[in-house]
Amino acid sequence: MIFEFAAGAVIIAMCLVLYRAVKGPTVYDRILAVNTFGTLTVIIIAVHGFLVGRPKFLDLALVYALINFIGTIAISKFVAFSGLGYPSEDEEKGDI
C-alpha cells in the first residue's frame, strides 16, 4: 500500500519533470530535468523491488545512478566545450 503510494507520487513527479525536459527552454533546463528524472527512476526501481516483494535487484539502481551521473557530466561537458575530449595537438595517438 505504502509502496503504491510512493510509486504513484514518484510517477506524478516524473510527469512534472518530463514537462520540463520536453519544454526546455534552455538546454540546461533539459539537462537538469534529465538528471532529476534519472534519480526518480532509481527510486521507482527500488520501490518496485519492494512492491513485488523481491528487492534483491538493487544493483540495477546503482547502475542507473552511475549512468545518470556519467550522462550528466558528458552533457555538461559537451555544452561547456562543444566536445567530449581534449585531443591534444602535439601527440601521436595511433588509433589504427
Binding site: 534483491k56 535487484f57 544493483d59 540495477l60 546503482l62 547502475v63 552511475l66 549512468i67 551521473f69 556519467i70 557530466i73 558528458a74 555538461s76 561537458k77 561547456a80 566545450f81 566536445g83 567530449l84 575530449g85 581534449y86 585531443p87 591534444s88 601527440e91 595517438k93 595511433g94 588509433d95 589504427i96
Partner: protein, 138 residues
C-alpha cells in the same frame, strides 16, 4: 573541465568503485542480474568518465591503442577458444560439460570463461569506440 576541483576529486574517488562494481557484476552474473556484457560496459564507463574529466590523451596512456586492440581480439578468441576446447575434449563446439569431470562443473567453468571473454571484448570495444569518437579532431 580538468580545472574543476570538485569534479576531479569526486570522480577520482568514484572511478575505483566503478571498477570494483564492474568486477562484482562480472562475477555475480551467475547469481543475479549481470554478466560479461554489462560488466564490460560498466568497466568502460569508468574509462569514459575519466576521459571526460581528465581528457582523452591521459586516458590513452591508461588504455593505449595496442592494449585495447589486443583486448578486443583476446576476448573473442577466449570465447571461441573455449568452444574449440569443448570440441577437442570430445563434445561439440561450445559444449562445456566435457571441460571438467562433472558436467555441472564443466558448465560453470565454461560459463565463467565465456563471460570473461565477453567482458573483455565489450569493455575494449566500448573504450575503443568512445576514444575514437572523442579523440577525433573537428
Amino acid at each position: 573541465m580538468s580545472h574543476l576541483v570538485i569534479l576531479r576529486i569526486v570522480s577520482k574517488f568514484l572511478i575505483p568503485f566503478i571498477f570494483i562494481f564492474a568486477l562484482y557484476v562480472q562475477w555475480h552474473g551467475d547469481f543475479g542480474p549481470g554478466g560479461g556484457f554489462q560488466a564490460g560496459v560498466i568497466f568502460s564507463s569508468g574509462f569514459i568518465l575519466y576521459a571526460l574529466i581528465f581528457g582523452v590523451s591521459l586516458t590513452r596512456q591508461a588504455a593505449p591503442a595496442w592494449l585495447t586492440r589486443a583486448a578486443l581480439a583476446i576476448g573473442v578468441l577466449l570465447y571461441s577458444g573455449v568452444g574449440v576446447a569443448g570440441m577437442v575434449m570430445g563434445g561439440n563446439f561450445l559444449s562445456y560439460s566435457v571441460l571438467a569431470d562433472e558436467p555441472t562443473h564443466g558448465q560453470h567453468l565454461g560459463i565463467l570463461l565465456v563471460e570473461l571473454g565477453v567482458g573483455i571484448t565489450v569493455a575494449a570495444a566500448m573504450i575503443t569506440i568512445f576514444l575514437t569518437f572523442a579523440g577525433k579532431d573537428r
